[in-house]
């Protein structure tokens, strides 16, 4: 059993990952009573500040899990951190409510069966579809730009390791993904235009190559073991590249400068904030890109360390954030971990 500070939202609310909405509600209301100000059960156990923290975490957990969309995102997040969310194997216990819910969202991957291994298969299927799409579109001159967008879309899904990324493959839904190649080919002006309008100059590289790369990158997903470390392998180049592109493409030039990094640089929450702002990312945007809850991101930046998941997860988060923000991964992890440890030793 874990300390409530280290429990995930399901454990916090004392429910199984495939819990139905009514059961979730019941459990939440009960916990609210048990840990409310009028409860005697907490007497002589919790310090006042611990109770405040616990109540806040329970509220957070409920807010996320009671919203199907957020819950799904949270599941993906959990899964990325844990390797796999223990959702599989409990299908037999699924209530009718769960089934009804699953049916209501045919586009999503059934929550209760969603393991990383399956996610790998889904990606494989997605890339197969993407490959066909790309090949088909690449057959025509006009189709090439779009084809590359599609290929980039696959990269993006991979980087995010999101089972639900299928939708992103729809050309309209692609979030301005600029293929890495465009950097070498397009002139700065062309790049701007291209980025803004997703209307790339035709390039000479064969789309099939992008396709192959996507296929190669897929391999690690086949493994059931996956953690934050693998995440970085997957998205290494295109993520940071994409980050840069984004700034170039979307943002007006009035961005705060990237904080100066030298030997004296202290890697702390403030540096994360500065780097994020220099990239032109809002917290929401970073949360969306990393699928890390905004709550934790804010806590990291504000150095409210007593309300973070277990350190091992935080390290994973930090690596991912550093990568996106173009910060040195090792230094970021080391720096912030030290600050967390210092704070907890006080």
């Amino acid at each position: 059993m874990r300390d409530f500070r280290e429990q995930n939202f399901y454990e916090l609310l004392e429910v199984k990952p495939h819990v139905s909405q009514p059961d979730l509600e019941r459990s939440y209301q009960r916990l609210k009573r048990f840990f409310g100000s009028r409860s005697v059960a907490t007497y002589a156990l919790f310090q006042p500040d611990e109770l405040v923290l616990l109540r806040r975490r329970i509220e957070d957990a409920y807010r996320i899990l009671s919203d199907p969309e957020r819950r799904q995102r949270y599941n993906s997040e959990l899964e990325r951190m844990d390797g796999k969310l223990e959702l599989a194997g409990t299908a037999a216990e699924d209530s009718a409510v769960d089934e009804a819910e699953a049916e209501a969202q045919p586009a999503s991957i059934g929550e209760s069966h969603y393991t990383l291994h399956e996610a790998g298969n889904v990606f494989r299927r997605l890339t197969d579809e993407a490959r066909q799409n790309i090949e088909r579109k690449a057959g025509t001159q006009e189709g090439r730009g779009e084809a590359e967008d599609l290929a980039a879309g696959v990269f993006d899904s991979l980087a995010n390791k999101e089972g639900q990324a299928g939708n992103d493959l729809e050309p309209d839904a692609i979030d301005q993904n600029i293929p890495v190649e465009s950097e070498e080919v397009a002139t700065p002006e062309a790049e701007q235009t291209a980025a803004a309008e997703s209307d790339l100059e035709p390039v000479d590289e064969l789309p099939a190559e992008a396709d192959t790369e996507a296929g190669d990158d897929l391999e690690p997903l086949e493994s059931d073991e996956s953690g934050p470390d693998e995440l970085e392998v997957l998205g290494e180049e295109d993520l940071s590249a994409q980050g840069d592109e984004k700034v170039a493409a979307e943002e007006k030039p009035i961005l705060p400068p990237m904080p100066e990094i030298n030997e004296q640089t202290i890697y702390n929450g403030e540096l994360l904030r500065q780097a994020r702002e220099a990239k032109g990312f809002s917290l929401e945007k970073l949360a969306d890109k990393t699928k890390i809850s905004i709550y934790f991101l804010r806590n990291l930046e504000n150095e409210v360390f007593d309300d973070l998941p277990a350190l091992v997860y935080v390290r994973g988060y930090l690596k991912f954030i550093a990568q996106l923000l173009g910060l040195d991964k090792e230094a970021t992890v080391k720096g912030l971990t030290e600050r967390i440890n210092q704070a907890s030793n006080k």
Partner: protein, 329 residues
Amino acid sequence: MNQETMTELRVPQVREEEKRETFIVAIGGGKGGIGKSLLTANLGISFAQSRMKVVLVDADLGGSNLHTCLGMDLPEASLGDFVNRRAEKIEDVIVETGVAGLGLISGAEDYLGSANIKYTQKIRLLKQIRKIDTDVIIMDLGSGTSFNMLDFFLYSDLGIVTMIPEPTSLENSYRFIRSAFYRLLRHLEKSLPFRKVIDEAMDPHNETGIRTPHDLVRVVAKMDPERGEQYRAYMDTFRPLLVINQVRSVDDEELGVAVSTACRKYLGIDLDYLGYINYDDVVWKTARSRAALLRQEPDSAVAKSIWEIAVQVAVRLRENPSSTLKKIL
């Protein structure tokens, strides 16, 4: 109804393992006057009435009153006779209670002799108790968190903590549960430096900042990660049971679940909530007339709630629980 359930529960258990040792159920919890003896006596009667052989042991060294809850006078033979070797075999100090199948080992009258029982005497006593030829032994523990009481509790296969819905009682029960767990670790840990850490943790005002088993695990894991995991595993296997006594309202009924949840969240210990006993005048009425409640007022709400608890205990006995401490002593 419950009696039938109990009788059914009993049959396969006895037949399955003829040579198995006797189950020991211990009833403890920090404070005095929270219903330990009441529960022990009446659980014993309910088991005996379900045709199980039961021996009750008044292990309240120094404050014995289990006989009163059974409507008996103070028996002549007592645990003290065995501890001080006036009686050769433990069976010699078992007295009849007037309920078929229910025997009693009365608490020691000579307070000093038993309260200061030596470690080796204690081990011998516990081992002898387990050898008594019966189906179930139910021990009524004294108040407080002395090592003796904690060891008796840990040596049992099922340990029940009782409490009443009052802050002082809650506080004592939490302290008892926490201390029992640390004491268990202390028995399991052979390495001196780590024993020191556990000793530190047992002091509620310790300077290391360890206030919960979680904290202890963290500190130990820093010194030795593997050990930290091991400790965490011990946490998961330590499962005391909870009974709330003197329940007066619906809120109180829910208190058992609330306490169990709080214990899980804060101490990381899974406190298994068995049930509650109503607050009812028949309790003190029967106590006054020095009669056993389950016999005098079998149809009272209190009697019914005790039967419910008895069924819950029988269900858990069927799962063949086994004391961790038993294996290492």
